[in-house]
Amino acid sequence: MPKDSGIGTSPKRREDIRFLTGNGKYTDDINLTGQSHAVFARSDVAHGKINHIDISAAETMPGVLAIFTGEDFADVGGNPAGWLINSRDGEPMKEPKRPVLAYGKVRHVGDAYAAVIAETVLQAQDAVEAIKADITELPAIVDMEAALAGGGFVHDEIETNQCFDWGWIEDNRAATDAAIKAAPHVTTLSLVNNRLVPNAMESRASTADYDRGTGDYTLYTTSQNPHLTRLLVCAFVLGIPENKLRVVSPDVGGGFGSKIYHYGEEALVLAAAKKLCRPVKWTASRSESFLTDAHGRDHVTKIELACEKDGTFIAFRTDTMANVGAYLSNFSTVTPTFLHGTLMAGNYTVPNVYVNVKAVFTNTAPVDAYRGAGRPEATYSLERVIDKCARELALDPIELRRKNFIKPDQFPYASAAGLEYDAGNYDALFDKLEGIVDFGGFKARRAESEKGGKLRGLGINSYIEACGIAPSNLVGILGARVGLYDAATVRVNATGNISVMVGAHSHGQGHATVFPQVVSEMLGVEENSIEIVHGDTSKIPFGMGSYGSRSLAVCGSAVVRATEKIINKATKIAAHMLEASESDIDFKDGKFSVSGTDKSVAFGEVAFKAYVPHDYPHDELEPGLEETAFYDPANFTYPSGAYACEVEVDPETGKVTVESFTAVDDFGNVINPMIVTGQVHGGIGQGIGQALLENCTYDENGQLLSASYMDYAMPRASDLPFYTVDHSCVTPCTHNPLGVKGCGEAGAIGSPPTIVNAVVDALHSGGHTHVTHIDMPVSPARVWSAINS
């Protein structure tokens, strides 16, 4: 009989009820008594020297309570990068200070140089207009190549625009160079991984409160990881004792990376709340989000693939410039390096891999991890060049990939890019894909499209990613400044219902539904009697939050460990209650029984006993039933997948329509298939957005051209098809207790190359064989230009 609850089932999401009835509580929905409002004065030039900021007129405006400028924060710390990267020559990366408010210089359009706190938002806006900023505009540094060539500097004190020049693995460099030189065939491709704006539909917001009596601060903020925000604010920026700051991240309307980081606005509202002894609220407009949220991607890459004439891979070598924008955001240094370079061997047995990444400061908004973070960039480069190679050698693109796949019996497999893949079966994924997609019927569908004047293309793709971020030992060696474990507390209340405090944060992923499935499966109690608590540093033990597809693999594992501890203790209590030896107690379906007898007690009775410990072995056991576990993963997890899509291209207008899209993924064990499917859908939607629509562009003066939905093309319902999604190929992760790998980013990683491969295929079928590549977004105008070039 199929299960109807617990692991592997798809209960409806319980959090949906509040969202569907308008009862969600997002940060901007929270209003505190006596709150005032912050509005920021932001630079309208990309690069400028601040001579003087005159706030005298603004200060006297109605309702104005306080005005802050960069000078007010000159003595506090900077917002740091979370990862120290060393250059190839061993030099540590350049790490200029990122202040709360710009000081000395403004470095990108939208860089905040002052903030007004007033009784109302409108009064604050009026006062911002009255601030007179004397700023001398400097030439903007926008293009990465020009930035590296020198001239002006984004940060004068470091006298370079290069943050680091990273080689991975530096010791492999010579061998890779030699292998490429000697190879019978080399395919080369230059490409751009287009810059994106994350665009969570809820814009960032922060409200701070300060209790004068106790000296306690509270920050309500749109964060994917409230503990990390607390750590950064306390330890690095404002120096507030960690036990005096409570960070609450309530319902959050999507993150996709952009809400991992600590931003200056959070520090500002905290400092202002203390100064005024009043709550201070700030909510970004969408226009502010475009200018100031950390953007994603923005790589310029040259990749070379060397192989035998039969397609056996010999070496991959890449040369990348990665834009980090004007300041180092918290994950900005790890994203283009360890989250990117280590994946550059893909699913393949290639012996030589070398990755070079130069990170470049520019007068643009900071760039950081965005859904997939580094792995989409790696997959895109690799899978595009493989596709090009297949065409050059006239090999079937699936066969070429299969020929080079790591085979199931080779796991664990040490990749040439330095990771140890624990489990996978890439051929099985393609077998499945070939079972789902009617590849045989493609010719007929192409002919049908051609009758309508359209070109039809088939794109296929394979990916591997590293999730479940991350083993602290390993990342420590690689330069991480924090550990990347997670934590959970399982609290069984006296009446038997359960609260689970988790360090992961749900902003759409459905933790409130999924984590109880795990606990319910283990304890045999009703899912509905288990409640998840997250997003509040005063309620949860600790946590590194949700990103990098880590919630279940890392925090879920902590939940398992804590629940195991509960079972251990409850077994002891049950043994006492049943007057049996602990080793004779069996726990099954929520019942403790003495093996070989009909004596048993229910889990609820044990819980009650723990809290009403009359007749209790106080010398052996403490009262209460609450356990905490921290879980540090032994390795990354390695989801992988095989994707296919068909597109139609209108050669007259260049418009591409996605006719079908199929994603076959191996996520290891799946706890809730409905939610996993939804995560893949969302990732594919974003991936198709990157491939066809989204393009964050600055002009040569550093003005953001795509600064609103008028110019930044968000995927809409009418741009996208229904998707076919399968995750029945399972190779469980070998090192976490649930055997899970993570599914949040897969779609965004696997889909962009699938789409571009299909577009190139379509153009070739129409005789446009000179088109070997089109940079994303593959917009109508670009396709048309490529055809007519």
Partner: protein
Amino acid sequence: MLNITMKINGKAVSGTVEGRTLLVEFLRNDLHLTGTHVGCDTSQCGACTIHVNGIAVKSCSMFAVEADGASIDTIEGQENTDGSLNKIQQAFQDHHGLQCGFCTPGMVMAAADLLQNTPTPTEAEIRNHLDGNICRCTGYHNIVKAIMAASGQDVSAIAAE
């Protein structure tokens, strides 16, 4: 300041606003009906979609005074009288048509607008009707599916769990 009265979710409401107060600001700030969201400042995302006199409008692109005397429906008034989810809301839950929930109130209101004029919409009609509603989480698959299901169509053939 201007005095306005209107009916919101069947209840008479009055308030005092400035000319520039947007309808969404009146709902969220004055009436604490925070289910209607703001996702942009260029009238494109649809997170603020409500019904004014029975038709869908973007409450961020209308002044509160313009709604003086109107009858307004928001997400807060969509449940059945017994408090259960209405058929669109229920279909969204059944088919996992929401993730972070931020776009959801607007999506539900846009879907209701569609179904009152087009009781059995095609996939294309649904997708077109959502042109002014952006969702960043779902890739739209399950939203479209949920709306089809809410209209009584059999969606079992559409892939997914």
